[in-house]
Symmetry: C2
Subunit: 409 residues, 2 copies
Amino acid sequence: MPVNLPVPIAEQLIPVPGLMLGVAEAGVRKANRKDLCVLLPAAGTVVGAVFTRNRYCAAPVQVCREHLAGSQGIRALIINTGNANAGTGAPGLANARSTCAALAQTLNIAPEQVLPFSTGVIMEPLPVERVIAGLPATLQDAKPDNWLRAAQAIMTTDTQPKAISRQVQVGGCTVTITGMAKGAGMIRPNMATMLGFVATDANLSPELAQEMTVWLADRSFNRVTVDGDTSTNDSFVLLATGQASHARIDSMQTADAEALKAGLLEVAQYLAHAMVRDGEGATKFMTICIEGGRSTEECLKAGYAIAHSPLVKTAFFASDPNLGRILAAVGYAGIDDLDQSRIEMHLDDVHVVTQGGRHPAYAEADGARVMAQSEITVRVNLGRGSCTDTVWTCDFSHDYVSINADYRS
Amino acid sequence: MPVNLPVPIAEQLIPVPGLMLGVAEAGVRKANRKDLCVLLPAAGTVVGAVFTRNRYCAAPVQVCREHLAGSQGIRALIINTGNANAGTGAPGLANARSTCAALAQTLNIAPEQVLPFSTGVIMEPLPVERVIAGLPATLQDAKPDNWLRAAQAIMTTDTQPKAISRQVQVGGCTVTITGMAKGAGMIRPNMATMLGFVATDANLSPELAQEMTVWLADRSFNRVTVDGDTSTNDSFVLLATGQASHARIDSMQTADAEALKAGLLEVAQYLAHAMVRDGEGATKFMTICIEGGRSTEECLKAGYAIAHSPLVKTAFFASDPNLGRILAAVGYAGIDDLDQSRIEMHLDDVHVVTQGGRHPAYAEADGARVMAQSEITVRVNLGRGSCTDTVWTCDFSHDYVSINADYRS
């Protein structure tokens, strides 16, 4: 049961001019389930993309990087669930290339104009013949108002689809932004997430599209974690079809860029938070805000140490204000010259720790009151500098163990 | 239920000449439980000690460091369970000092000759008056053959005491080594562990005692992890009473030193492994051996990435050979120029991965056969160099969540 995450409604997902989506049942791993999804951006679309920094990156991630380095525009994205095509060696790479080639032939484009994505079990051969056999059905299904079905087709252990639309005013035009993503385990994105796609009809230069993608990822997908496991397949793609009639934007700092960035950030953060809210077994949504750091890096070290601690996460699951576990995590976060006597901690509005020790006025009943909520902010001040950063995560429950002990069976 | 860990038998724990141990009920957190333990080494005992690198180290750890820096010999160690005296600020430090002063007064020694240790809940005030009131009873109880009761008194979430004895021949003498330790959660020692004590009547120089303690910790307690949470209170202490009649050892490389090191290592590794075998909720004992690294550091990065991955640990709990999760962990371990096409992996004797992909001869039934065992070795070759290192860990079960969601209630 996700934490405060509404199920998207098809009618509220606004089509993006210049983009069609189609889904089909290819039987990659299981029968009778939509497991193949195609995105067809119109000619002229510019693409920004960031991928996992996991050195064991999947075959499709490697192929995406190659194809994005080419000079021809991207005209198709093909996504399968049920198999990650990771840890599959040279045959896996050949399978990813064959999929692109087959789709390119049908569409009469070059294979380099196709980006492949896979998600599912690692180290099992991709049933490439079933994927290729399913391609025509995805194309027949393709239409602009297919976002909800696409968001459903890319789910794995997600309990519900994740998608959202926003419209912003850019250069006198109404620009649409619609995005979708999937979670829900092996989530500790490093550059991007386990499949996130955001499309807009805004008109951007290719360079700005890439710059904006990195900017977005660092404020959304790169700040969430479920279990600390960075996936082999993380991919976040921004598609800008350019069909809105405003003047092309080519710098991050203009008023038009700012308006667009605000809308994109809202969509990307919504999707990133949705992955946490629907994190495997999640019952609590936690915002970990680290203040008073000397650098972004040390704020993130402390934030992720807290967000990854099994002891912290199980205490939140139990609604138990066993808050010393948070201090212990800050202490082992790897900030070598941390002075514990300068630490302050708040749980929502409750001042728990001052000068490194329990606040004299802190009463356990106040901590218990906050811990009983489904949304909790932990705020730790390191007392070292002026940097601040935020990480979002969920708790660690019996259901996480059940889901991951049973995932393949 | 610990994994293949016999309950120690009192008669098999050999007293160490020059050391007495006593226990008592002080009611630190709960009534009717032995929660206070004193160790009384004779005059002339040399001490080696390593402590947590957690910057949020507990008050007793800070006091231990000060007292060990003094010039007088250590004559007493006082250990309480039920409260970690960590995250307690200046009052916590004062409480640790008061405990030492009270014990020193009774024994007619200096406060600096006492080392304090605490384990239990973090961020709650130590009930110092109850600890001090319990001291006389520990002294009345003190005798050399009290190791099993002492090992029981220092338990927290441990399901059984952990203690062992060995005897080795050093310089023509029979030297005794007896040790005890406690786990069982917040276990990812960094320098040492959540309370390990090894005593011997061997005759060592003070400098060698410290050198040998670091050497031992790096081959035992510093190579195990349960949940990746480095404790605020980790402490590992070697007591050498010097009452054996062999010539004093003052170098790591002599034949006598080698004989002693072998015995000490056997005891320290047994205790470190015992913490994993009795790790919270453990059902499997896993040996993670990383070969072919360029440095010890990168072997440990890969080893700990595997050992800390919730996805790997839940797959082992399920006896599910979902081994791609191990590859993903190796990939995000932080070895920036790792070449996945050189990775080899074995599960016990089964060759699972070759050249980064699934081995053509690997059959899932073989993986499943090994995964069903209670003791499993994962061997990953990084294909980069000649360094090898080993990390020991356990799986991640429903019981881990239950234990830590209920710990304080």
